[in-house]
Structures are given as structure tokens and as C-alpha cells.
């Protein structure tokens, strides 16, 4: 065994350990902020695994999308609603825990079976390394065009939904008077802050 393969093995061991322990931490830790940060660590370790597989573009995309966007958004959500409140005690918590543990164990068994029974082609196909970027682009615009476009439509829907939810100018009425309230005040500098009621009615 030469130096490069042993380094690779050590890296793999460390990264897998980070992934497994990190994921356990994400679900087991009581402090939700810790879970969120650990999730970021897990994402980064997964990116490291991609790097080991010589898929640098996927690794960078993993970091950009999962660490840079998804995880930061999760953290944002947690920190903006960082209320310290005790959860209500749930009835028959123990039974629920046992049940979910059973389901998870079943899933694990299923995965293990798939892993053991699938005839993996070893060693796998040779990594194309730096041409991967072009190959991914080609695939996205030829045979995976439909899923690609569908995903973009999905994202667009989510975005429009978010905008509709955030812009409440159609929905909100003044609690006191029952008039509709202009919520876009901050956007229009020219709108007078005090609306004359006689003209608006």
C-alpha cells in the first residue's frame, strides 16, 4: 500500500466518521442550534467524500447549495424564532419512540440488504474528473432536460408562493378601523405616510 492510497483511506475513515457521528448528533442533540451547525458539518463531510471520488464539481455544488444556502436558511429560521419555550409533554412518548425506532431499523435493514445483494461493479467506472462539469451540463440539457425544467418550475412556484405570503397588502386590514392598510409603504418613497381617510374611501 503506497502513501497516496493510505492517505485516501484515512481521509475516507475520518469523513465517514464525521458523517455518521454528525448525523447522530443532528437527531439526538437537544439544542436545535447545535443540530443545525452539525448538519452543516455533515454536508461538508459529504462534499469531502465527493472530493475523494474525484468529483470536484459536485463537491463544490454540494457546499454551495447545501452549506451555503440550505443550512444558512435553516440557521436563519432557527435564530429568528429563537424562543426558549418548553415543549408540551406528549402522551405515550415511549411507545412512539419505540415505534419510530422500529421503522428506522426496518429501513436500515432494507438498505443493508440492498447493499449486500446488489452486484456492485468493482472497481467502478473511471472518474472523469475535470470533464465532469461539461458532462453534467450536457446531460442537463439533453436527456435530463425535463426534470431540470420541472425543478426550475417547482422553484419558481415556491418563490411566487413566498412572495404572495410575504406581501400581505391584499389581505391585511386595519384592526381598529377595518380599512385596508397599505403594506407597501416601505417600498414606495412617494406614498404619504398618513393616508387621508376621506380620499381613500
Amino acid at each position: 500500500m503506497n502513501i497516496s492510497t493510505s492517505t485516501e483511506l484515512i481521509c475516507f475513515a475520518i469523513l465517514s466518521m464525521v458523517v455518521v457521528l454528525g448525523s447522530l448528533g443532528v437527531i439526538l442533540l437537544a439544542n436545535i442550534v447545535y443540530s443545525a451547525f452539525l448538519l452543516g458539518g455533515v454536508f461538508m463531510a459529504v462534499a469531502g467524500l465527493y472530493l475523494l471520488l474525484n468529483a470536484s464539481f459536485v463537491a463544490a455544488a454540494q457546499i454551495l447549495v447545501y452549506v451555503g444556502a440550505v443550512n444558512v436558511l435553516i440557521l436563519f429560521a432557527i435564530m429568528l424564532v429563537n424562543k426558549k419555550e418548553d415543549l408540551k409533554p406528549i402522551k405515550s412518548l415511549q411507545i412512539r419512540r419505540v415505534l419510530s425506532a422500529g421503522v428506522c431499523a426496518g429501513l436500515l435493514l432494507l438498505l443493508a440488504r440492498v447493499d449486500l445483494t446488489t452486484p456492485w461493479a468493482l472497481p467502478g467506472p473511471i472518474a472523469i474528473g475535470e470533464q465532469a462539469t461539461e458532462r453534467i451540463g450536457e446531460h442537463l440539457f439533453t436527456d435530463y432536460l425535463l426534470p431540470f425544467e420541472l425543478a426550475s418550475v417547482l422553484l419558481l412556484m415556491a418563490m411566487i408562493g413566498a412572495i404572495v405570503l410575504a406581501r400581505r397588502d391584499v389581505l391585511i386590514t386595519d384592526v381598529g378601523t377595518g380599512d385596508s392598510v397599505d403594506q407597501s409603504l416601505i417600498e414606495k418613497a412617494s406614498t404619504p405616510l398618513l393616508i387621508d381617510k376621506s380620499t381613500t374611501n
Binding site: 442550534v33 464539481f57 455544488a61 451555503g68 444558512v72 440557521l75
Partner: protein, 386 residues
């Protein structure tokens, strides 16, 4: 076309003529009775160390420049007594921070509090991986080049959120949230303007991007083909570095010092170092992406042919390599100078103005810029990298 090859990867080294430091180092090590692999292992950290040292020296120079230029803009003298013209002042600052007490507030979260600054600094230093100072003068010519930088810089907000949360202080938390919001908002136009460049040079690699600009010296720099992209990139880079028109996360009038409020000593120094390394890095990347990187305003090949020398001659190679380094650094520091001038020219924007500028101005403009670049590339493949 090859210049000096001190830091090149092995595969490049074999294909390019000229001086090859790694190969000679390897041979010298083998002469001492070590195997080729061990020699490679010893070689590996050397370029990294060199770039780390270069980054830190770059920061020291930038801090000194910042203080001197700020002083000049306000008709003051600035640091004067530490060394000639105060050049040792940044060292003194660093030493002071080094020997200060490492305070962790009583109600803070010690682990996250310590991890935060590290998470801010490490991605920035890692990004130096892709900064080329010459044809082969970079740690690693990664295929995904500039994309790596964009991906790495997206880790930073996590560190900022972490330190903001761990400080257990409302100003810190607000500063951290602002920093994260700002860096997410400005990453998008930044990436889009980079994408336009990538589209023109058909490669993500920084080396290829510079090579594509160095056909006719000054005239072939990307800044002429991408003036809008250049401005967008520079504005976004300033916002990512939290430089003055956009330094809301540490706006001292409102947030004391933002996420740095509770930090002291070396942990504060890490933030400080991180922000300045980031500034130098951004300036270097602007010069790489838009100002022809290591290229001299007149192509070095032309100069060599006027002198009547072959470009592959070792002597010319050394000269070309040093010119490359000097040009990259000069361009970067001109941009740093502009950043410092901007600091004393522009007032800080409000948070809503900041987000307005990012989402409603820069984002549409960078999309239009991308579209125009794509159509120009189809229409004039010669000028826009067909």
C-alpha cells in the same frame, strides 16, 4: 505558453518546458536517499506555506496602506514611529492582539464561540488555492477554479452566524444575521457576473481565464468586454468583504461591532485577518477575472521577440515570471487603494437600501449582462470566445 514553474502540479510540469522547481527538488531529495513519494510529501506543504505567508504579508501591507491612505484622506499623518513611515505598525497591532487575554464571556457558548472565527478564516485562506500569479504559479490549477472560490465563500456566513449566536449578545446576533443575509444576497449577482466571464473563456479555471485575456495585452482584458460585469463584481466583492459602503454587520453606530463585539485577543485577530485576506483575495480575483491577471499591458511574447530572445529561454522565463507576479500584485493593490478611497467617500447604506441594491438592481442587471454576453458570444464568436 509556459513561464516559470515553481508551484505547478506534476502533470503540468511534465508537459511544459522551462524551469521546474518541483522536479529539481524531487531529484535533490532522491539524491539524499528518499523515495520519490516521500519527496513529494515533503514538497506538498511548501507552496501552501509560501502562499499562506504571502497572504499574511499581503494583509500586513493592506493594513498599513489602509491606515496611511485613510490618514492622507483626512490630512493626517497616520502611523509614523513604528519603523520607517510606520511600516511595522500592523506587526505591532498583531503582536498586541497576540498577547491579549483570551476572553470568553461567562454566558457565551464556549465551543461555538471558539469555532466561529476559525470557520470564518479557513475558507478565505483555502480560496487562495486558485489565485494564479503566473502560468504555473499557483498551488493547484483546479478544474473548477473560480467555482471553488464561490462555493468556499458561502461557508463564511455559517461562521459569522455561529459567532453571532455564541456570543449571547443581541448586537452580535443581529450582526451575524445581517452578515449572513448580506453575503447570501450578494453572492448571487457575484456568481452571475463570474458566469459571464466563464462563458467567454469556456473554462472555470483561473489560469485559462487569464490566458484568454492575454492575446493582445491591455486591449484584450475582460474589463473592456465586460464593463458592467466588472462593476457588479467589484460592488459585490466589497459587499462580501463587508467594506465600508456595505459594512452593516459591524456598523459601530448601531451594533457596537456586530458579531465581533464580544471577541478579544487572537479570536478578534482572526476576524480581522479574515476580512483583510478576503479584501486582498477579492482584489486579486478582480484582477484575474477582468484585468488580465499576470499579463503585462504589452504581451511579454512581443517584448521578447523585440529583444530578439526566445520566450522559452530560462532567463526570459525568470523575468516573465517575476513580471507576472509584480503585475498581479500591482493590479490587486490598485483595487485595494480604490476600496480604501471608497471607504472614505461613501456613507454606509441602510439595510433596506443594501438589500434593494442587491436584489432589485444588481441581480437584474447581472442577469441582463449574462444574457447579452451569451448573445454576443453567439453573434461575434471571435471577440467573445466562441
Amino acid at each position: 505558453m509556459s513561464m516559470v514553474t515553481p508551484l505547478g502540479t506534476a502533470s503540468q510540469v511534465l508537459t511544459t518546458p522551462g524551469i521546474d522547481l518541483e522536479l529539481s527538488f524531487n531529484q535533490a531529495m532522491q539524491g539524499l536517499g528518499l523515495s520519490s513519494e516521500v519527496a513529494h510529501l515533503i514538497w506538498l506543504p511548501l507552496p501552501m506555506l509560501l502562499v499562506l505567508v504571502a497572504a499574511v504579508i499581503g494583509v500586513l501591507v493592506t493594513v498599513w496602506l489602509e491606515r496611511k491612505i485613510s490618514a492622507a484622506a483626512q490630512q493626517r499623518i497616520g502611523p509614523e514611529y513604528a519603523g520607517a513611515l510606520g511600516v511595522l505598525q500592523p506587526m505591532a497591532d498583531g503582536l498586541k492582539l497576540l498577547v491579549k487575554e483570551d476572553v470568553i464571556p461567562a454566558r457565551a457558548d464556549g465551543l461555538l464561540f471558539t469555532l466561529g472565527p476559525v470557520l470564518v478564516l479557513v475558507p478565505v485562506i483555502l480560496s487562495w488555492l486558485i489565485v494564479p500569479f503566473g502560468q504555473n504559479l499557483l498551488i493547484s490549477n483546479v478544474g473548477i477554479g473560480i467555482f471553488l472560490w464561490i462555493a468556499l465563500s458561502s461557508i463564511q456566513p455559517i461562521g459569522l452566524l455561529m459567532s453571532g449566536y455564541a456570543s449571547n449578545n443581541k448586537y452580535s446576533l443581529l450582526g451575524g444575521l445581517r452578515a449572513a443575509a448580506q453575503s447570501i444576497s450578494y453572492e448571487i449577482p457575484l456568481a452571475l457576473s463570474v458566469l459571464a466571464i466563464v462563458m467567454m473563456s469556456n473554462s472555470l479555471s483561473t489560469v485559462d481565464i487569464v490566458e484568454q485575456q492575454n492575446g493582445a495585452g491591455l486591449l484584450s482584458w475582460n474589463v473592456w468586454r465586460q464593463p458592467v460585469g466588472f462593476l457588479i463584481f467589484w460592488i459585490c466583492a466589497l459587499a462580501e468583504c463587508e467594506r465600508l459602503p456595505f459594512d452593516l454587520p459591524e456598523a459601530e453606530e448601531e451594533l457596537v461591532a456586530g458579531y465581533q463585539t464580544e471577541y478579544a485577543g487572537m479570536k478578534f485577530a482572526l476576524f480581522y485577518l479574515g476580512s483583510y485576506i478576503n479584501l486582498v483575495l477579492s482584489a486579486l480575483l478582480v484582477s484575474v477575472l477582468y484585468l488580465g491577471g499576470w499579463g503585462f499591458p504589452i504581451p511579454i511574447e512581443w517584448l521578447a521577440s523585440w529583444v530578439g530572445q526566445s520566450i522559452d529561454a530560462p532567463f526570459i522565463q525568470v523575468i516573465a515570471g517575476s513580471i507576472g507576479i509584480v503585475m498581479t500584485v500591482i493590479k490587486a493593490y490598485v483595487l485595494v487603494f480604490i476600496a480604501i478611497l471608497l471607504r472614505w467617500t461613501t456613507p454606509r447604506v441602510r439595510i433596506d437600501q443594501l438589500l434593494d441594491l442587491g436584489w432589485k438592481f444588481l441581480l437584474p442587471i447581472s442577469l441582463v449582462n449574462l444574457l447579452v454576453t451569451a448573445s454576443l458570444k453567439l453573434a461575434f464568436p471571435i471577440a467573445f470566445g466562441g
